[in-house]
């Protein structure tokens, strides 16, 4: 049982006796709230989410195409000091990610200098060869990054994964806060919580800042695969809150290398596309010819510099798990600084010694495919049944280059509402970093995902995870 040894963010190592400094108010709130009231509020939250239609489709589960992600009303808290350190580290990491992308699609200095092996970049399926040599407006590739972090102790934060393609989840950060304000207003009197509701504005400002230099009043749109997509709620939520059109591929047309949107008043020129469809589906002429989601000629408009794609095509190379293991080198190479955020120790199974270590310690490790996401196809050694271990052993031997292995971290826990009362559950954290032509924007908050099953370390919503609100406390005024 991992929870026993895990660091609890509310109680520290006190075993529910004394809350950590700064967390007294939350502990008192939790102690004084009658269980029946907690239960009532929890039910009310679920009803509200269902009625709003905040649903999430689980891949491969056609029956339950619309299911809500469970929301837990006990918040998770970061002090202002913890947040300041995190934010500085996030900015550094995202700066390095963008510099890396600009380099590998440009001069490829990092490969020429041998700072990281060339083949893991060039030979990577995420390396978008048709896009090489194309520099997006302002040289920014990954305008929106979601960095997955975990915690194992008071000062021990680790980056688990970088998401530089089309990271999702930010609508939960915002809706969770709305739900908390409605259901537990008293908490916001007890605690001085930084607001997160400016995110749509920050995102809109970021989109405008990277528009091609055509004219003032750039037209930005959000491109969705459509209302059957699992993240559609988020797409509509963000478009609505930014006041921009939510478009599908069929709403856009490219003529003369310019993107037009079909409206009842005739065509309207589009400057920036926040796209929530994968690279492969963007343009059937350049990429997958069977794509019905994309827009024929879109990549040509992008190559011509007439439209900005957010994020740019090809950013997947930066969040590939094989690249992840080199992030410390990448951060050092581009920033000249030591990385402020730590990477989890990673064995690249493509390397012989690492593969041998992984096979010898399979029961202790987490094994992930380098190109996977969403918690699919991974092995959690300590809890895996015998058969899964053997299956992974065979797959590792057959295609070692497809996997990495990491130690099983004792993820921190946060008190969570369960069927048998309040109990510790493991959490992770995904803050969102925006990069515009005019600098970084990080909203003080993020998405906390919680593994609702006792002892489980898998927080993905597709694998039975839920979410919590994440409170960042304001700095307390000094002096007095």
């Amino acid at each position: 049982m991992v929870a026993a040894g895990a660091f609890d963010e509310l109680w520290g190592a006190s075993r529910n006796r004394a809350p950590r400094a700064g967390f007294e108010a939350l502990a008192a709130w939790l102690r004084d709230l009658p269980p029946a009231e907690l239960d009532r509020r929890q039910q009310a939250a679920e009803a509200a989410f269902r009625s709003l239609g905040i649903t999430f489709a689980v891949y491969g589960d056609e029956q339950a195409a619309e299911r809500i992600i469970p929301f837990d009303i006990i918040p998770r808290i970061f002090t202002s000091g913890e947040w300041a350190a995190l934010a500085a580290g996030l900015e550094q990491r995202v700066r390095a990610i963008n510099a890396f992308l600009d380099d590998v699609y440009g001069e490829r200095r990092i490969l020429a200098d041998g700072a990281i092996p060339a083949d893991i970049v060039l030979g990577n399926a995420q390396y978008c060869a048709p896009c090489a040599g194309m520099r997006p407006p302002h040289g920014i590739h990954a305008h929106i990054c979601g960095i997955d972090m975990v915690r194992t102790g008071p000062d021990d934060f680790w980056v688990l994964e970088d998401n530089a393609r089309t990271p999702s989840g930010v609508s939960y950060m915002l809706e969770n806060r709305e739900a908390m304000l409605r259901l537990c207003p008293e908490l916001f009197e007890l605690l001085d919580v930084e607001p997160v509701d400016s995110y749509p504005e920050l995102l809109r400002d970021t989109l405008h800042s990277v528009a091609p230099a055509r004219a003032k009043g750039a037209v930005c749109v959000l491109l969705t695969p459509g209302h059957h997509n699992s993240a559609y709620y988020e797409h509509s939520f963000l478009a609505d809150n930014m006041g921009i059109e939510l478009v599908e591929g069929s709403d856009l047309e490219v003529d003369d290398d310019i993107v037009w949107m079909r409206t009842i008043d005739g065509p309207v020129r589009v400057d920036v596309i926040y796209r929530r469809i994968d690279d492969a589906f963007l343009d059937p002429l350049f990429f997958r010819p069977d794509s019905l989601l994309g827009v024929p000629g879109l990549l040509a408009a992008y190559l011509a510099g007439n439209v900005t794609l957010v994020n740019a095509p090809g950013t997947g190379i930066a969040d590939d798990k094989a690249i992840y293991s080199y992030m410390p080198e990448i951060v050092r190479y581009y920033t000249g600084e030591e990385p402020k955020l730590r990477n989890v120790e990673t064995w690249r199974c493509r390397e012989r010694d690492a593969l041998r270590y992984t096979l010898d310690h399979l029961e202790e490790l987490v094994v992930k495919p380098v190109d996977g996401s969403g918690g699919y196809g991974m092995l959690v050694g300590p809890t895996a049944p015998r058969a899964d271990l053997e299956r992974f052993r065979a797959m590792l031997k057959a295609e070692p280059h497809r996997y990495i292995a990491q130690p099983t971290l004792a993820l921190s826990t946060v008190p969570t509402f369960t069927e048998r009362g309040v109990a510790p559950r493991h959490v992770d954290f995904r803050p969102f970093v925006l990069t515009g032509a005019d600098g970084f924007r990080i909203v003080p908050g993020g998405l906390t995902r919680v593994a609702l099953r006792e002892g489980s370390l898998v927080v993905n919503s597709s694998q039975g995870g839920g979410t919590k609100d994440s409170f960042i406390l304001s700095p307390t005024p000094q002096g007095g």
């Binding site: 699609y105 490829r108 490969l111 060339a118 083949d119 060039l122 030979g123 990577n124 399926a125 390396y127 978008c128 060869a129 048709p130 896009c131 090489a132 040599g133 194309m134 047309e253 490219v254 003529d255 003369d256 290398d257 059937p284 002429l285 350049f286 010819p289 024929p296 000629g297 040509a300 190559l303 011509a304």
Partner: protein
């Protein structure tokens, strides 16, 4: 050789499509052994053409027609001076590092048939160049050229297993096999002057390039079992057919489509003489 190329693609639509967007990779670049003397694209209606260069260095033209057309003809014509350099490709104006061309793609992912061919290739005697020659020769002699057997989305593995196909399939099989033995390889589309007198062809040609450490990119035509020579005009390259195909198109509406392609590759002098006699 001084070659002249006329390449016409004619479409006929049952119902005129509301609009048409096409991506054309039909313009060759000059490099060592290939000089493009003149080259032009003609479209038989009001169309907008925009030129780009993709990451591979291919010249890409976008063709836009924004009104209903019941037919469309795109003609490409030009003259190219070629030299026989035994398939060795040098001096391309833009290129990516060979390391890009090592990974399999959906069309070139290896299976048992490609694995067998790769093992066979590895066992051939001599340096890498000889092994690849052996591979090209084997494909030339054992594979059936058959225009009816495969489609544009046939994979290398499927074609290899079936043992037949068109130049696209030959090229995919060669690429998949070369990558399987650990060398970079890529797909090339272009034109071939037929010394057997078949001046008019129903399609362009395609072949493969493999990266050989001491030689660099070396072009093999597995359909004919040789390295390319001065009868070949190299137009576009990429990881597979999808990245290098001469045309990719989309249209809004239009019902059934009838397509006619005619490629005429001839010696420029002979054609000039023929015209003067008319």
């Amino acid at each position: 050789m001084h070659l002249s190329i006329h390449y016409t693609t004619a479409y006929h639509y049952e119902d005129p499509p509301r609009r048409i967007v096409q991506l054309l990779r039909v313009t060759p670049a000059s490099f060592a052994g290939q000089s493009v003397l003149d080259w032009r694209i003609d479209v038989d209606c009001d169309a907008k053409l925009r030129e780009h260069q993709d990451g591979y260095g291919n010249i890409v033209q976008m063709l836009y027609i924004d009104r209903p057309m019941s037919s469309l003809a795109v003609s490409v014509a030009g003259r190219v001076l070629t030299e026989d350099r035994a398939g060795i490709i040098q001096g391309l104006p833009h290129d990516l590092p060979p390391g890009v061309f090592i990974r399999p793609t959906p069309l070139t992912a290896p299976g048992p048939a490609i694995d067998r061919l790769a093992r066979w290739t590895t066992r051939r005697a001599g340096p890498v160049l000889d092994k690849l020659h052996a591979l090209a020769t084997r494909l030339h002699s054992e594979f059936q050229f058959d225009t009816q057997a495969t489609a544009v989305d046939t994979t290398a593995e499927q074609a290899c297993d079936a043992g037949h196909g068109v130049c696209q399939d030959f090229a995919h099989v060669m690429i998949a096999t070369v990558r399987r033995i650990g060398l970079p390889a890529r797909y090339v589309s272009g034109h071939l002057f037929r010394r057997d007198g078949a001046l008019v062809q129903e399609a362009g040609h395609a072949w493969a390039e493999a990266w050989i450490e001491d030689l660099g990119w070396t072009a093999f035509d597995p359909v004919n079992g040789i390295c390319t020579d001065d009868a070949y005009v190299r137009v576009a390259s990429g990881l597979d057919y999808r990245d290098a195909a001469p045309v990719a198109g989309a249209r809004a509406g239009g019902g059934a489509e009838e397509l006619k392609v005619e490629v005429r590759v001839d010696r420029a002098m002979r054609q000039a003489q023929a015209q003067s006699q008319n």
